[in-house]
């Protein structure tokens, strides 16, 4: 309902959804001024086997919109509406998902998030969705893992088309805390470098890292808050409570590049983010004092097997 109202803010730029065939894997994303990241982002997900991209551009001014409109597998909408009042883009995407994603496996990610799942170096994403389907699993979780460079985050500038993991290749391996939301059944995961650096005074305010980005979509489903929570609630039960491990992946979050400092200030002025941009305020302060997120216990990213061994994700019973 809410999604439909907010959908009036959306204006179609290029609609290529008629090219979507049954069984295609779709990717949904919102973005604002991310042009520099787009080439690698599209390449990464095309290589994984995503068939069609459905993107919402929130009033970009850097040419990203024009770039996307040229891509043969991208359908693009644009809006000048408030990101915050559309519940951080969720309303826009819920509307588009309801309209185009029914019956498809859908991946909802931001342009700075890179989806990693078990065997992703040898099997395409369709292998995963086929397996999930055969196992009657409707949703697949992938925790957000903040990646950062060694040294000041603005030391090495990011080049268009470059793999951001070449710069931001470090992460925190084991400082996450988990609690359960008894209302929606989802988990609440916090921790990582952001909690360690910026939220030591108010750890409960640290950003949520739990995400469920891959869902076999049905028009009755909806994301409640970003991709952290879903309705109906059963979709949030992506964890095992009886000692076993369900299969899960990781979203490598490459926000902390040289583009970030600028972005933090910009977002702060717009005040369009969660909890009155508390997060960005904390970043702006934190980065002024300590521009280096790296510590001597940081891990250097190698591949998904490393994340599996460290216990950040799991193969579950997929072998």
């Amino acid at each position: 309902m809410r999604a439909r109202r907010k959908s009036r803010q959306l204006r179609e730029v290029r609609n290529r959804t008629d090219r979507i065939r049954p069984g295609d894997i779709l990717l949904f994303s919102t973005l604002r001024n991310e042009d520099i990241r787009l080439p690698y982002f599209l390449k990464y997900y095309r290589d994984l086997g995503v068939d069609h991209f459905i993107m919402v551009d929130n009033d970009s001014t850097d040419g990203g919109r024009e770039y996307l409109a040229e891509q043969a597998d991208v359908s693009l909408w644009t809006t000048k509406g408030s990101y915050r009042r559309a519940r951080f883009g969720v309303d826009w995407l819920n509307y588009l998902q309801r309209k185009y994603a029914h019956g498809h496996w859908t991946l909802v990610v931001d342009p700075d998030e890179f989806f990693v799942f078990p065997f992703c170096d040898t099997r395409p994403i369709r292998a995963l969705t086929d397996w999930l389907e055969a196992s009657e699993i409707r949703s697949f979780s992938a925790m957000l893992l903040d990646m950062y460079p060694k040294g000041r985050i603005d030391a090495v500038p990011y080049q268009r088309g470059q793999n951001p993991l070449e710069i931001a290749s470090w992460f925190d391996a084991g400082n996450y805390s988990i609690s359960k939301n008894h209302l929606y059944y989802n988990l609440w995961i916090q921790g990582g470098p952001r909690a360690r650096m910026f939220f030591t005074k108010e750890p409960w305010r640290a950003p949520a890292l739990n995400k469920t980005p891959l869902v076999k979509w049905d028009r009755r489903y909806a994301y409640v808050s970003s991709t952290h929570m879903l309705l109906p609630r059963g979709l949030n039960l992506v964890y095992d409570e009886w000692g076993g491990e369900k299969a899960s992946g990781v979203l490598l979050h490459t926000k902390f590049l040289d583009t970030f400092t600028e972005k933090a200030h910009e977002e702060l002025e717009r005040g369009q983010h969660y909890a009155n941009s508390h997060e960005y305020k904390a970043y702006a302060e934190g980065l002024a004092e300590h521009p280096d997120l790296w510590c001597k216990w940081s891990e250097n990213y190698i591949n998904w097997r490393q994340l599996e061994i460290l216990g950040l994700m799991s193969k579950g019973n997929w072998a």
């Binding site: 065997f119 925790m143 084991g174 400082n175 988990i178 964890y239 095992d240 369900k246 799991s314 193969k315």
Partner: protein
């Protein structure tokens, strides 16, 4: 033409076609059953696509749904057709469209030619097999199952309940003993025709029609009536996970499959181009003569174990066990020392020297997390911030132990620390907790504070510690716990220490040659007496002889202490 194939097909028809061509090229006749659920147009196109092949036929179609009679009916019709139309066939092999021959088919033929009277079918009595889905083992033969498990789950469950409640059990047909096993078999003409031409077949069919998952029991049971020589294993490599679904093979399993020496594997992912190209387009002679799927077995059973038991001590996004279901709250043993740093001046460095363990200070101190050598971060990028730690103290502990797998952790604990984990460590079998009760009073004794303040603090610490002790002594505590009063410990400190080290495991079983330095306790008894005189009752220290002549504190013995 000794080997004939019965193939059941329902999806990925283009892959099935490839496999059919492969069988056919090796001179095997193939009778194909296509699921009735496949629509007419698709079916016609499929028939068309293999029309050029000799000795490929299609059988009468049945509707096949997992766990129902349709699959057996399909195998029956197709087998009958195979035996009828291809009189040279000696062995009939039941395969599916997602099965793939791994070895040259000639090798399989030779193998079967050497064993002309052997029926390869996995067949075990229900009492002896653990693989059952939905908690139904023997009941799958004694109840009726008219409803689909997948599509009519509610009715399925209610009907099972109903039959159990009213004890509506079926009688087994005369003379049969239920057996179960893999659906994929390879039977001799003699056995198969005996099953199919049995005069009692209508009775058996009527019975098995309402048995649950008859495709895993029909042939498996009846083969026992006729076969001379049952080799109870399937020639098809097919592994099932804990939900009873087959594991799927992908391109990255290529080397494993190559080395498995199995004749046929299932189920192959339809998009596994590399596997299809490798095994169907080129000859892959394998070395061993007998199938040897040991390594694949291990990988898949590990996967099932990961899904059902998980990794002990790990809490993560897809594993958050409820209390009591953790299979181990932490991943490795660790030691907690309470009151030792208070009693000994240089306890931490000394402990690190004599045990080779990682020795932390008070990890749960309210001021900061006292990691070893007071670093600001520790393994896994844990942070020394106390607020962050107390935000989820349990996970701070489990993370610490998980992050340092392979290295024993020791830390100090006491009533001055935040107490969130008090019960958790008490209940954790991995914890080794050594407590000197009342040792918290020593820093107070040595401090230069007003006595009224000391008295208040002592009362508070004593309350906290006794609460902690009641956790340690409770019915639920599973840790290895040693508790001494301060007075007892001071009597023979090294003996007590030695017993702690013996507990820490063989690696550390080294007699202590060097003792830590104990603080000077001169006047301590008087201090306790003063507390008593102020109306407080310090009881956790044990009995220090009071009076004006305090006992000479023991100097640590410098001589080697022998235990063995």
């Amino acid at each position: 033409m000794s080997l004939g194939i019965v193939m059941l097909v329902h999806t990925a028809l283009h892959r099935a076609e490839q496999v059919i061509r492969h069988w056919s090229a090796a001179g095997c006749p193939v009778v194909i059953h296509v699921d009735r659920n496949v629509d007419r147009a698709t079916y016609d196109r499929f028939v068309e696509s293999v029309a050029d092949l000799p000795d490929v036929q299609f059988s009468k179609r049945h509707r096949c749904e997992w766990g129902t009679w349709g699959i057996v009916a399909a195998s029956q019709s197709a087998s009958e057709q195979l035996l009828r139309n291809f009189p040279d066939v000696r062995h009939a092999y039941l395969a599916s469209g997602s099965c793939m021959p791994l070895r040259p088919i000639q090798e399989l033929k030779d193998y079967l030619a050497d064993r002309p009277r052997t029926d390869f079918i996995e067949s075990a009595t229900t009492a002896d097999v653990p693989w059952t889905v939905g908690g139904l083992d023997f009941e799958r033969f004694t109840l009726r199952f008219p409803f689909s498990f997948r599509k009519q789950r509610f009715l399925f469950d209610r009907y099972v309940e109903f039959q159990r409640r009213f004890k509506l059990y079926r009688k087994l047909p005369e003379g049969i003993v239920p057996h179960m096993g893999s659906q994929w078999w390879c039977l001799t003409r003699q056995t198969l025709s005996a099953i199919l031409e049995d005069p009692d077949r209508p009775i058996y069919d009527r019975y098995f029609r309402r048995v649950w998952i008859p495709d895993e029991s029909y042939f498996q049971t009846l083969v026992r009536l006729y076969s001379q020589n049952v080799e109870s294993r399937s020639l098809t490599l097919s592994k099932f996970d804990y939900q009873g679904k087959p594991h799927i093979f992908y391109d990255d399993h290529l080397q494993l499959l190559r080395r498995s020496d199995c004749f046929v594997a299932r189920k192959i992912w339809p998009n596994a181009d590399l596997l299809y190209d490798t095994f169907l387009k080129s000859a892959n002679p394998m070395k061993g003569s007998e199938p040897n799927p040991g390594k694949i077995d291990r990988i898949f059973s590990k996967a099932v174990e990961r899904r059902t038991r998980g990794r002990a001590g790990l809490f993560m996004q897809s594993r958050l066990p409820r209390e009591g279901h953790e299979n181990g709250f932490t991943s490795a043993p660790y030691s907690v020392f309470e009151g030792f740093t208070e009693l000994f001046e240089d306890f931490e460095p000394w402990l690190a020297r004599v045990t080779n363990a990682r020795v932390h200070g008070h990890l749960f101190s309210p001021e900061r997390v006292e990691f070893e050598s007071r670093q600001k971060t520790f393994a896994g990028a844990l942070c020394d911030n106390p607020k962050l730690r107390d935000h989820n103290a349990r996970m701070f502990l489990t993370n610490l132990i998980w992050n340092t797998r392979g290295e024993r952790q020791c830390f100090q604990f006491g009533p001055t620390d935040s107490q969130f984990i008090s019960w958790d460590i008490a209940k954790d079998p991995n914890a080794q907790i050594s407590v000197i009760t009342g040792a918290w009073s020593i820093p107070l004794f040595l401090s230069n504070r007003n006595f009224s303040e000391i008295r208040a603090e002592a009362a508070e610490l004593q309350r906290i510690e006794s609460e902690h002790l009641s956790a340690l002594r409770s019915y639920w505590s599973k840790a290895r716990i040693r508790i001494w009063t301060l007075a007892d410990f001071v009597e023979s400190p090294m003996e007590a220490m030695q017993s702690v080290f013996d507990d820490m495991g063989a690696k550390n079983l080294r007699t202590i040659t060097e003792a830590p330095k104990m603080v000077d306790l001169t006047g301590f008894a008087q201090f306790l007496q003063n507390l008593k005189n102020q109306g407080m009752h310090p009881y956790l220290m044990g009995d220090f002889p009071s009076g004006p002549t305090p006992r000479q504190p023991r100097r640590p013995q410098r001589k080697p202490y022998l235990v063995r």
